[in-house]
């Protein structure tokens, strides 16, 4: 990360936003704003993003619009010591991008093997069943990080963007009561 990027990141931390690259310039946005503005991804491919959108939405309704893919992509594109991902707490070994690539690849490979289509192309009911199988490690032919662990990590990411923001607290009727408020509801 360059000095300019580092300053932007730190500034973003103070504001409660993240630094995204738009048209070669860095702007501070929440993941929801980044999703709405279709900010280009830095690390994940279009296929991986489609899988993560669908997986996030299956895990926690609202995760796609809340920007789960933009959040994860932004987080795995910088130094691991600045990452805000739950993967960090769950002892995933950096670089975190390796874990997400392996996890999303495993989802699509197993989905294709068992259903003939990638995860994003499955029906909502099929996606729900597939994720249920991940949780209890019963996906036939799964190859990659253990599926219950992938379930837990990606579920945490989805919970982060939907429920761990000021908007998420408001939606649940919980007073946020910050000492130091993340602005822009992040």
């Amino acid at each position: 990360m360059t000095a300019i990027e580092r300053r932007a990141f730190v500034q973003g931390a103070g504001l409660g936003t993240l630094a995204f690259v738009v048209g070669g310039a860095e702007v501070l946005l929440t993941p929801r704003q980044a999703h709405a503005e279709r900010v280009p991804l830095r690390t994940l491919s279009a296929d991986q993003a489609a899988t993560l959108d669908a997986l996030g939405e299956t895990l926690v309704p609202g995760a796609k619009e809340a920007g789960i893919t933009q959040f994860v992509d932004q987080q795995i594109s910088g130094p691991p010591e600045q990452a805000l991902l739950q993967a960090r707490i769950l002892n995933v070994r950096p670089p975190f991008a390796n874990f997400y690539r392996a996890a999303l690849g495993a989802v699509d490979a197993a989905s294709t093997k068992n259903k003939g289509r990638k995860f994003a192309a499955l029906s909502a009911a099929e996606q729900h069943d597939f994720v249920g199988g991940m949780r209890v490690n019963t996906i036939d032919g799964w190859q990659g990080p253990p599926s219950p662990f992938v379930f837990a990590v990606l579920r945490s990411d989805a919970v982060d963007v939907v429920y761990s923001t000021m908007e998420g607290y408001a939606a649940l009727g919980i007073p946020y009561m910050p000492h130091i408020a993340p602005t822009q509801k992040w």
Binding site: A13, G14, G16, T58, L59, V60, P61, G62, P80, E81, Q82, A83, L84, L85, Q86, R88, I89, L90, N91, V92, R93, P94, H128, V131, G132, R135, P148, F151, A152, R155, S156, V159, D160, Y163, S164, T165, G168, Y169, L172, G173, I174, P175, Y176, M177, P178, H179, I180, A181, P182, W186
Partner: protein, 528 residues
């Protein structure tokens, strides 16, 4: 590989690590007039950096290496560790129960584990001193049903809230006496630091100073007394003289990845139970071929961690789960006797009623997803609460820190923390779940369930350089001074020969204060 740089001016003492134990040593020695430098691998967060957010709070924790994990029950290293000046005490829960007399004499009383080379009575005055120094809220008199009398705490207990109070009925019905938790938090203004406002953001860093983190307590005092703190400083080795008899300082890499040497008359390693042994093992020389202070192969051995049996309860009433502190509202030692449960061995410590945030709600039912999770989150936001029972892990030689072939960015071997619970620990964990569910079912909760999955959750890390009576059974004496190198001290839970079951940080502060005062009082004979 990093660049080379010249050595720094020699000082009196270099302290490696700025958490609970390191900050205590730094304060005592700086106030004694010593020139002190504190090195920490984490950055210096200001209080104003401590954003009230579970997501942003993760910045205070490690991201990968240098400790890899192994064994049947790997330790939750990243969740418990720190990437911050102030160490894990910047994000800890600040529950301040103390160890009990039985913890210091397990071998004598049960022919299991180890005895400490000191008794409860040797540590007790330092519990009182720490309370007076940094502030503890609690009801000492109520604790005296389980421990010898001591000084009252300087502040009354913290306020309680419905999410804690609802446990009283269930506990009373099952013979468990709940009393106010002792907390390293301000129930009233203390030494110019504000009282707690009970918003529950303690574990992401308390920016108002109501929680006794090192930045506002011992580390702040150390700085005022002239100690220098250098963040983003990764210590790789303790350096020794040609004869191998004296520590001469430490090697570290600074924020620019440049190699530095800090010479000092005394070295204090206070970098937690995983990194401390790693540094000793990486400090091998021809005079210490197995690592520093490791002639008897005890460095990195007897790693211990508490197991957690958590019980969730869900009420229809609004019990305001978001209010309070992350430190629990109530505690009990009623299952602390090592033989409390038939068929199990070890102490158990009960803590009830902590504030919760949305990520906690989601964790309470880790099996749910989709619309079912969304529905549960709404109910949890009004009615969820938790009771924790920590259980003791006995010291086992095979639970250890060992160097591995993987290297860190400075070319030094990383380490693996290998940990497995034995049959006693598993039996105790199961018994604690039964106890927790029994209590929960005797409350007015609509639903209750054990937070039990395939993984045994862990908290707190101890051992790795244990204290004892002589080099045959230990790495250090009771002050943390290594048997092999007189001017090298170990600080923190690494020196604990057994781990009890209560949260360790109060005892970390107390033993560090005891060691630091001893060092200051015997400076001439130690520093040479």
């Amino acid at each position: 590989m990093a660049n080379e740089k010249t050595a720094n001016e020699k000082i009196d003492v270099v302290v490696v690590g700025s958490g609970a134990s390191g900050s205590t040593y730094a304060a005592v020695l700086a106030k004694a007039g010593k020139k002190v430098v504190v090195l920490d691998n984490g950055p210096e967060w200001k209080l104003t950096d401590l954003i009230s957010s579970d997501i942003w709070g993760r910045r205070l924790k490690p991201a990968g290496g240098p400790i890899l994990l192994g064994g049947k029950n790997p330790f939750a290293y990243a969740n418990q560790g720190a990437y911050a000046v102030g160490g894990a005490a910047l994000h800890y829960f600040a529950q301040f129960p103390r160890y009990l007399p039985t913890d210091f004499r397990m071998k004598s009383e049960h022919n299991r584990g180890h005895d400490w080379p000191i008794a409860y009575e040797d540590v007790a005055p330092f519990y009182d001193k720490v309370a007076a120094d940094i502030g503890v809220s609690g009801d000492a008199k109520a604790e005296e049903q389980w421990r010898p009398p001591g000084q009252p705490y300087p502040m009354p207990p913290m306020k309680t809230f419905p999410a804690g109070e609802v446990w009283r009925k269930g506990a009373a019905a099952t013979g468990i006496h709940l009393i106010p938790m002792a907390n390293g938090m301000n129930s009233t203004m203390f030494k110019g630091r504000d009282a707690c406002i009970y918003d529950g953001w303690c574990a992401v860093g308390c920016p108002i100073g109501a929680l006794a983190n090192p930045l506002v307590t011992y580390l702040g005092e150390a700085r005022k007394a002239g100690a220098e703190v250098r963040g983003l400083s990764n210590v790789t080795r303790v350096l020794t003289n040609a004869a191998g008899t004296r520590a001469t300082g430490v090697e570290y890499y600074d924020a620019n990845k440049e190699r530095q040497v800090q010479e000092a008359s005394v070295v204090v390693l206070a970098a937690w139970s995983a990194q401390n042994p790693r540094i000793l093992l990486n400090s091998a020389t021809d005079k210490h071929p197995k690592g520093l202070a490791n002639a008897n192969d005890l460095v990195g051995k007897f790693m211990m961690t508490h197991h957690i049996a958590g019980t969730w309860a869900l009420f229809d009433d609004d019990i305001t789960p978001h209010l309070g502190t992350v430190g629990a509202q109530f505690m009990s030692y009623d299952r602390y006797a090592k033989t409390s449960y038939p068929g199990a061995f070890g102490s158990s410590f009960i803590a009830a009623g902590t504030s919760h945030k949305t990520s906690d709600y989601a964790l309470a039912r880790g099996d749910l997803f989709g619309p079912e999770l969304a529905a549960f989150m709404k109910r949890a936001a009004r009615g969820l609460t938790h009771l924790t029972i920590f259980g003791e892990d006995l010291p086992q030689l095979e639970n250890r820190i060992e160097l591995v072939s993987d290297k860190d960015e400075y070319g030094l071997p990383m380490a693996r923390l290998i940990h497995s619970f034995d049959g006693d620990a598993v039996a105790l964990w199961n018994a604690n779940f039964e106890q927790g569910v029994k209590i929960a079912k005797a409350t007015d909760a609509k639903e209750s369930w054990p937070g039990k999955g395939p993984v045994m959750p862990t908290a707190h890390l101890h051992g790795g350089a244990i204290m004892g009576t002589d080099p045959s059974n230990s790495v250090t004496n009771s002050y943390g001074q290594t048997h092999e190198v007189a001017n090298l001290f170990m600080a923190g839970p690494c020196i604990f020969p057994t781990e009890g079951a209560s949260n360790p940080t109060y005892t970390i502060f107390a033993t560090a204060l005891r060691g630091a005062e001893h060092l200051a009082a015997h400076w001439g004979s130690v520093a040479g």
